[in-house]
C-alpha cells in the first residue's frame, strides 16, 4: 500500500513539523525567555570572557564581552573590550557602534563622533553609524551636518538587516530625518519622513506623536487622528495624552478634552511625586485653555494663578495668564 503509506507519512509530517516548532516556541517563551531575563549580568560576562579567552583573535567576541561588561556596570572594562575589538578587526561595526553608544549614553556626543567619523570614512556601508552620527550632530545643534549624514542613510539603496546582525531600521532613520527637518523648520519634509516611518514600520508609534505635534497648528483634524492613534497604542504615555487633549480643545471638543485630562490626572496619581505634580499642573493649564476658549476668562485666570502659585516657572501657564489678562483688560 505505497499510497497509504505515503499519506500516513504526510500526515505525520503535517502534525510533527508544526507541532515541534510550536512546542519549541512554547518552551522558548515559557522557560528560556524568563531564564534569559533572570540571568545575572555577571554570568554573561563570564560566558563571553571565557569565550574571548578561547578565541583571542576574534574581534566580535570582544564586542559581546564589552556589551556584557557594560550591562554589569563596568564601563572601563567595556571601553577596553570595544577598543580591543577595533584593534583586532578595524572594520567591525559592532565595536564602533558599541563604543560610540557608550559615549553617547554618557552625553559625550563629541567623543561618539570621534569614534564613528573615522570608521564610516572607510566603512561607508554602515548605515547605523551614519544614523547615529546624524543623531549626535542633532544633539549638538549642528543641523547641517546632521542633515547631511541622515541624507546618506535615507538615500541608500542596499540594505539587508537579516545578515548584518544590526539594529538598524529604515523606519527609525526616517523618524530621525523628520526630527532633523523639524529642527531646521522644514515641516513638510518632516511630515513626509514621519509618514514614511509609519509606512515602513507601523510599530513605530512615536511617529504618530511627532506627526500630531507638527500638524497641530496646520491640520488639526489630521493631528487629532495621529494623537488618537498614539494614545491607543501607548496609553501609558500621559504626555501624549496631554497633546491629545490639546488637539481636542483646538477642535472645540471640550467634552473629549476634559475626559482625556481626567484620565491624565488619574494616571498621574500613580506616578512619582515630582512627575505627578508636573502632569497635574500641565492638565490644569490645559483646563484653563478650555475655559478661555469657552470665554470664561475669570475661571481661567484663577486656575492659572493657582498653577503659578504652585510653580512660578511654568512657562505655558505664564504665557496663557498674560493672554487672559490682556483679554480681560480689553473687555468693556
Amino acid at each position: 500500500m505505497p499510497v497509504r503509506g505515503s499519506r500516513l507519512d504526510h500526515l505525520i509530517l503535517l502534525i510533527a513539523f508544526p507541532g515541534l516548532i510550536l512546542l519549541a516556541l512554547v518552551v522558548e517563551k515559557t522557560a528560556l525567555a524568563p531564564r534569559r531575563a533572570a540571568r545575572p549580568t555577571e554570568q554573561d560576562v563570564e560566558i563571553w570572557r571565557s569565550f574571548a579567552a578561547q578565541h583571542p583573535q576574534f574581534g566580535a567576541a570582544q564586542v559581546r564581552l564589552a556589551d556584557a561588561e557594560l550591562k554589569a556596570g563596568d564601563r572601563a572594562a567595556a571601553i577596553e573590550a570595544y577598543q580591543r575589538a577595533l584593534e583586532l578587526a578595524p572594520d567591525l561595526q559592532g565595536a564602533a557602534l558599541g563604543l560610540s553608544q557608550l559615549h553617547r549614553d554618557a552625553g559625550d556626543h563629541r567623543a561618539a563622533i570621534a569614534v564613528l567619523e573615522p570608521f564610516v570614512a572607510k566603512q561607508t556601508g554602515c548605515l547605523e553609524c551614519l544614523q547615529n552620527l546624524a543623531a549626535d550632530y542633532l544633539a549638538l545643534g549642528d543641523l547641517e551636518r546632521a542633515a547631511s549624514y541622515i541624507e546618506r542613510v535615507t538615500s541608500s539603496a542596499v540594505y539587508l538587516p537579516s545578515v548584518s546582525n544590526s539594529n538598524f531600521s529604515f523606519g527609525r532613520a526616517r523618524l530621525l530625518a523628520g526630527r532633523i527637518d523639524e529642527a531646521r523648520g522644514q515641516l513638510d519634509a518632516a511630515v513626509d519622513h514621519y509618514q514614511a516611518a509609519l509606512r515602513y514600520d507601523p510599530r513605530l508609534v512615536g511617529a504618530h506623536l511627532l506627526l500630531g505635534h507638527v500638524l497641530l497648528a496646520r491640520a488639526p483634524r489630521a493631528a487629532l487622528a495621529h494623537l488618537e492613534a498614539y494614545r491607543a497604542a501607548n496609553p501609558g504615555d500621559l504626555r501624549g495624552a496631554l497633546s491629545l487633549a490639546e488637539a481636542y480643545g483646538d477642535l472645540g471638543d471640550e467634552v473629549a478634552a476634559r475626559r482625556v485630562l481626567e484620565e491624565v490626572r488619574a494616571g498621574a496619581a500613580q506616578r512619582p511625586p515630582a512627575q505627578r505634580r508636573q502632569l497635574d499642573l500641565d492638565a490644569e493649564t490645559q483646563l484653563a485653555a478650555l475655559e478661555m476658549r469657552r470665554g470664561d476668562l475669570e475661571a481661567a485666570r484663577s486656575r492659572l494663578e493657582a498653577v503659578l502659585a504652585r510653580d512660578p516657572g511654568h512657562a505655558a501657564a505664564r504665557a496663557q495668564l498674560a493672554d487672559v489678562r490682556q483679554r480681560l483688560a480689553a473687555q468693556p
Partner: protein, 335 residues
C-alpha cells in the same frame, strides 16, 4: 586503473563543471575579495545575501512547481507544507522568537548536503556505486564540516551567541570538548576514507577524480573562509557565493535537459519556455529579481518581506531534500 578523465564523467562539460562546480569555491574567494577592494565588507555581505543567497531559492520553486512531473509526484507536500510554514514563520517573526536564528543550522546542513549530492552525482557518472555498510562519503562530509565549524572562531561565536540569546548558557568546557572530539572524528574518518580509496585503486575499481577534486576545493575553501579568515562579514559570503553558483548552474542544466526531452504539451509549456537555452536571461533575471524585489520591499514592508524570505529559505531547504535525490532514476537518466 587510470586517472584520465573522459568528458562523459563530467556533469555538463569540462569547462562548465570546472567553472561552476569544481573551481567555484575558489571563484567565491576571488569574487568576494575583488568586491571588497571596492566596497565595504558589510556591503559585500548584503549583496551576496540579497542577490545570491535569496536568489537561489528561485530555482527550487521553478523546479518544484514548474516541472509538471515533479509537481505531480509531490503535489501534496508542495501545497500543504508552504501553507503550514508561512503562518509558522510569520508567528515566529511577529512573536520575536529567537528560534528563527536557529535556521542557520539548517542552512549549514543544506550546504553539506549539496556537496554530498555532487559527490554522489560524480560517483554515478563514474559508475562508482556505493558499497559497504558505511557511507564514508557522507561521514567525510559531515565530520570534516563539523570539525571546521568547531575550529572556526566565527561559527563558535555564532553558535554561542545564538544559544546564549535563546536563554541557554553553554558551559566553558563545551567548546574545547567539541573541538577535540570533532577533530578526532574527522581524522579517524579521513584515515578510513584514505584506506578505502587505496583499496579501490588497488583493486581496479573506478574512483571519481572529479568527486575528490570538488571535495578538495569545497573543504579547502570552507577551511580558509571559516577557520583562517573568520571574518564576520566575508566568510559567509564566500561560502554562500559558491554554494549558490553551484546550485543555480546545476538546476539550470537539469531543467534545460529535461525541457528538451519533454514531449510538448500545454501542461508543461511554461516550464519548457523558462528552461529553454535562449531564455537563460529569464532564469538569471528571476534569481536576481527575487533579491531586488526583497531589497525594495525591505524599504516599505520589512516585516512582511522578512517572513517571505525566511519562508522561502525553509521551503528551499525542505524541498531540496526530495527534489534532487540522486538515487531517483529520472535524475540519473537526465544527468
Amino acid at each position: 586503473m587510470g586517472f584520465a578523465i573522459s568528458s562523459d564523467r563530467f556533469i555538463v562539460s569540462p569547462l562548465y563543471d570546472t567553472l561552476f562546480f569544481i573551481a567555484s569555491p575558489l571563484l567565491g574567494i576571488a569574487v568576494v575579495f575583488t568586491a571588497w577592494r571596492f566596497v565595504p565588507a558589510v556591503t559585500v555581505e548584503s549583496g551576496v545575501a540579497l542577490y545570491f543567497a535569496l536568489g537561489h531559492h528561485v530555482p527550487t520553486f521553478m523546479r518544484a512547481y514548474g516541472d509538471p512531473d515533479e509537481y505531480a509526484s509531490n503535489r501534496f507536500r508542495l501545497l500543504a507544507i508552504p501553507a503550514l510554514v508561512l503562518p509558522l514563520i510569520g508567528a515566529l517573526v511577529l512573536l520575536d522568537s529567537r528560534l528563527i536564528s536557529m535556521l542557520f543550522i539548517w542552512d549549514q546542513y543544506h550546504f553539506v548536503r549539496q556537496h554530498y549530492g555532487f559527490m554522489r552525482i560524480y560517483d554515478a557518472k563514474n559508475q562508482s556505486l556505493l558499497n559497504g555498510r558505511l557511507n564514508l562519503d557522507q561521514l567525510l562530509c559531515f565530520s570534516w564540516f563539523i570539525a571546521i565549524i568547531t575550529h572556526s572562531d566565527l561559527y563558535s561565536f555564532i553558535y554561542t551567541a545564538a544559544f546564549t540569546d535563546l536563554g541557554l548558557s553553554p558551559p566553558g568546557w563545551i567548546g574545547p570538548l567539541l573541538r577535540n572530539g570533532s577533530l578526532a572524528a574527522a581524522v579517524a574518518v579521513a584515515i578510513a576514507y584514505g584506506v578505502h580509496l587505496l583499496r579501490r585503486v588497488s583493486s581496479g575499481e573506478p574512483v571519481s577524480v572529479l568527486k575528490l577534486a570538488i571535495t578538495g576545493t569545497t573543504y579547502g575553501v570552507w577551511y580558509y573562509a571559516y577557520v583562517l579568515l573568520a571574518h564576520p562579514s566575508l566568510s559567509y559570503p564566500i561560502s554562500s557565493f559558491f554554494h549558490c553558483l553551484q546550485y543555480d548552474a546545476l538546476a539550470w542544466h537539469y531543467n534545460n535537459v529535461k525541457a528538451h526531452r519533454l514531449e510538448a504539451r500545454p501542461g508543461n509549456a511554461i516550464f519548457r519556455y523558462l528552461s529553454a537555452s535562449r531564455h537563460i536571461w529569464l532564469y538569471i533575471g528571476a534569481i536576481f529579481g527575487y533579491g531586488l524585489v526583497s531589497n525594495l520591499a525591505n524599504f516599505v514592508a520589512p516585516i512582511g518581506i522578512t517572513i517571505v524570505n525566511r519562508t522561502t529559505a525553509v521551503l528551499h531547504y525542505y524541498f531540496d531534500s526530495f527534489i534532487w535525490r540522486v538515487r531517483r532514476p529520472e535524475f540519473r537518466k537526465l544527468l
